[in-house]
């Protein structure tokens, strides 16, 4: 089987982290985001993966070569000379996607969930339609475009953008499986798959939904990245509880890389990920926080709803909260308070950031 991952552009929504690494390589739960998807695709029997990007992917290429060997999967780049939206890249990758008559997967690279590709393929083959989109239920559908099914069937009747009265609470999860015949509907020009291709397929009754049973999150921006981390860890606690940390000082679901060092009298969790070679001092408290590789958190610091970038340091008695994001190699002095601060790489912060702001 084959798959196309829509990587897209520079990942500006996840800055300042994406100033250092392309978004697919930013770690989520201690592994590059895109590896979560590649691994799940390989497990479902995918042999060819196309990454659709619209920038020059030199940094990515090296990593992908490594993963290609590690997972024994053929990874190629499809480079758009101009952004082609969410449908155009399919036409551009026609050579790979249409090389046989098997259906192929398409997914947005920002999405994190349990990736039920096996079930999707089986469901798709069973109904015989041209496409299947994964849908997830949301509490407040008025903010999204919702999917309305025909009666109780899986066939999609129509799409409603930001509904003002309740018609459905199912939204497009950004993960699809299509027969190669969909490529006849798409030209290699900027096209939105959601707005142009799907409504046409729905009119032909060729598009079905499959409900995504567990969690789902678009982790393309810091706040959602942190929320998604919590959902992912909760899911991990059911599937592979042995990978989570336990013991005194750990509360809730916490993932700690084996190479990290934790000081005395810390209290960690819930929903914390600590990366490789991270060093925590004594009396550190953190919750809903992600610490990337090589960062150091000194004694008595307190962190909540914060992402600490690679090789950054947080001083003693510092307090970080309110979706603060430290880029690569940022240094926060002792006793500093940061609320919703977004700090670009290689900066030192020595005075408080009391209100959400960007430190250039």
């Amino acid at each position: 089987m084959k798959a196309l991952i829509l990587v897209g552009g520079f990942g500006t929504r996840l800055r300042p982290l994406t100033l250092t690494l392309p978004k697919p390589l930013v770690e989520f739960a201690n592994r590059p985001m895109i590896l979560h998807q590649i691994e799940a695709l390989v497990k479902a029997g995918v042999t060819d993966i196309v990454l659709a990007v619209n920038y020059r992917p030199e940094i990515m290429a090296n990593f992908m070569k490594k993963y290609s060997e590690e997972y024994k999967v053929n990874i190629t780049f499809s480079i758009e000379s101009e952004p082609l939206g969410t449908a155009g890249p399919l036409a551009l990758a026609r050579d790979v996607l249409a090389k046989d008559s098997e259906p192929f997967f398409v997914l947005n690279s920002d999405v994190i969930c349990d990736f039920p590709f096996h079930e999707m393929a089986a469901f798709h083959k069973a109904h015989g339609g041209e496409g299947t989109i994964l849908v997830t239920k949301v509490d407040d559908p008025s903010k999204y475009g919702v999917v309305v099914n025909k009666g109780t069937s899986s066939v999609i009747e129509r799409f409603v953008e930001k509904p003002t009265e309740f018609v459905s609470n199912k939204i497009n999860a950004g993960i699809y499986i299509f027969n190669p015949s969909i490529l006849n509907r798409i030209e290699p020009r900027p096209t939105s798959i959601e707005k142009e291709i799907f409504p046409a397929m729905a009119r032909d009754s060729q598009l079905h939904t499959m409900d995504l049973p567990n969690f789902w999150m678009d982790v393309g921006q810091p706040k959602d990245y942190l929320t998604g981390t919590g959902l992912y860890l909760t899911s991990l606690s059911k599937k592979e509880p042995g990978r989570l940390a336990s013991g005194p000082g750990i509360t809730g679901f916490v993932l700690i890389h084996p190479s990290a060092k934790i000081g005395q009298d810390c209290k960690i969790g819930p929903n914390v990920v600590i990366g490789p070679d991270v060093v925590l001092g004594d009396g550190v408290r953190m919750s809903k926080t992600v610490i990337l590789e090589g960062a150091q958190i000194r004694d008595h610091a307190w962190l909540q709803n914060t992402i600490v970038g690679w090789h950054s340091t947080v001083g003693r008695w510092a307090r970080l909260e309110g979706v603060s994001v430290l880029g690569d190699d940022v240094h926060v002095a002792d006793e500093v308070y940061i609320n919703g601060g977004c700090v670009l790489p290689h900066k030192s912060v020595s005075s408080n950031i009391a209100e959400p702001s960007i430190i250039m």
Partner: protein
């Protein structure tokens, strides 16, 4: 060589109805007794007066209940056994000049040559000896202590225009609307014993003015004796050319007003830094922990203290805590593992739990701060050359009143918390009633 003149000192403390800007701290402690650098505010005044040769008696004048000062007087008398210290209670608010005049017989008893009068609500290095030396050389009745400040601040104080050669005061005006001079009055006065004649003249003048306007002075609070030193007496002295100004030496002397609660933080810092240079005995290191139940690392030494700091000997500090600079820790305070305290005053019986951080704050009596919490005020202006800037531009310190409880892991920033509150969520820029 001239013989040592005999002196008396008067400290004007006001009463419970003034100093509302000192809330919430004044709700549980009379403002003149609020501890700064480990000692009641007016202790520093008494100490400065008591060490002058020739000081015969120190009188504290105000309209607080007598009992308020009982304990303070007992303690301070033992510290300065050679100078009698008494409290004289006004039964009604007479104003700063009126109080002085009302007790003129008591003050004049023993026939002192010179009388120092100090307002209570100031923090200063009190250059009283230098002021006295200057005073004895001129022919005026009175010397006031002046300090040069940034011209933007003059309009908040009593402004002094002096002859630069003779230091004779040419003009004195409270809170001038236009800029006249960069010198202000510090609320510290030195008078010859003839001063009471001047006060009487001021009272007569005021009464004549009131009669002229047809106002019956018995209906005015304080009656005919109510008179302000600053306005009525000093302007009369100025016009009689009997007032001189001694100016604080820049870089050596400090002075600031203590009006609001948050001004105790810079006042504490100024006194501690002053003692650091002049009287290191008044500073202290953390004592060894004496209770085994708060620490299992008692053998690992004492907490790190960055001077200047005052730590009461009965305070218990975990060896992993880090205190100072500019910190005063009161009696029976309990400081837990990994706590940080800087630029703050912790009053009696406060408890700070593990890994918390206290910056630019006053923590009221019996208050408790939970683990991993942060109590922080805005730091003062950093124009260190001009300490009076700190006195006026009031940094919004965080102030917790008596018996306030702060939950674990919350941040309280730039807040004033009234007594007996339980705070369970983070707050900033609020007055919590």
């Amino acid at each position: 060589m001239a013989t040592t003149p005999s002196l008396k000192g008067v400290i004007l403390v006001g009463g419970p109805s003034v100093g509302t800007r000192f809330r919430p701290l004044s709700m549980d402690c009379p403002k003149p007794l609020f501890p700064i650098a480990g000692r009641p505010m007016i202790f520093h005044h008494v100490a400065a007066l008591a060490k002058l040769p020739g000081m015969k008696e120190i009188l504290i004048v105000g309209f607080f209940e007598n009992s308020i000062f009982d304990r303070f007087l007992t303690e301070i008398q033992m510290e300065f056994p050679n100078v009698p210290i008494r409290y004289l209670r006004e039964y009604q608010a007479l104003g700063t000049g009126g109080g002085l005049f009302h007790f003129r017989d008591q003050i004049s008893r023993g026939d002192p040559d010179q009388i120092f009068v100090l307002n209570a609500d100031i923090a200063s290095s009190f250059p009283l000896q230098a002021m006295l030396d200057f005073h004895l050389k001129h022919q005026g009745v009175s010397t006031i202590l002046g300090i040069r400040v940034d011209r933007s601040l003059v309009s908040k104080f009593g402004c002094v225009v002096a002859n630069p050669e003779t230091h004779e005061v040419l003009h004195f005006v409270e809170k001038p609307e236009s800029f006249l001079s960069d010198m202000i009055s510090c609320g510290i006065y030195l008078f010859r014993k003839e001063i009471f004649e001047v006060v009487r003249a001021a009272i007569d003048q005021r009464q004549a003015k009131l009669e002229e306007q047809g106002i019956d002075d018995s209906t005015i609070r304080g009656g005919s004796e109510r008179i302000q030193l600053e306005q009525e007496v000093l302007s009369l002295l100025t016009s009689a050319k009997k007032l001189y100004a001694y100016v604080c030496v820049p870089g050596k002397d400090f002075w600031m007003q203590i009006k609001t609660g948050s001004s105790v933080i810079p006042a504490n810092r100024l006194y501690l830094q002053h003692f650091f240079h002049t009287a290191p005995r008044k500073l202290s290191n953390a004592p060894k922990p004496s209770l085994s139940d708060i620490t299992n690392k008692a053998d690992e030494g004492v907490a790190e203290v960055i001077q200047p700091a005052y730590i009461h000997p009965t305070a218990i500090i975990h060896p992993s805590a880090r205190l100072g600079p500019n910190v005063s820790i009161g009696p029976r305070v309990l400081i837990g593992r990994g706590v940080r305290v800087r630029d703050s005053i912790l009053l009696d019986n406060v408890e700070i739990k593990n890994d918390s951080c206290i910056l630019n704050s006053v923590i009221g009596w019996d208050s408790k701060v939970g683990s991993w919490s942060r109590v922080e005020g805005a730091p003062g202006e950093s124009t260190a050359l001009n300490t009076t800037v700190k006195g006026y531009k009031i940094p919004s310190a965080t102030i917790l009143g008596k018996d306030v409880t702060i939950a674990d892991e919350i941040a309280i920033r730039n807040c004033i918390v009234l007594p007996h509150k339980d705070i369970k969520a983070s707050q900033h820029n609020e007055i919590l009633m």
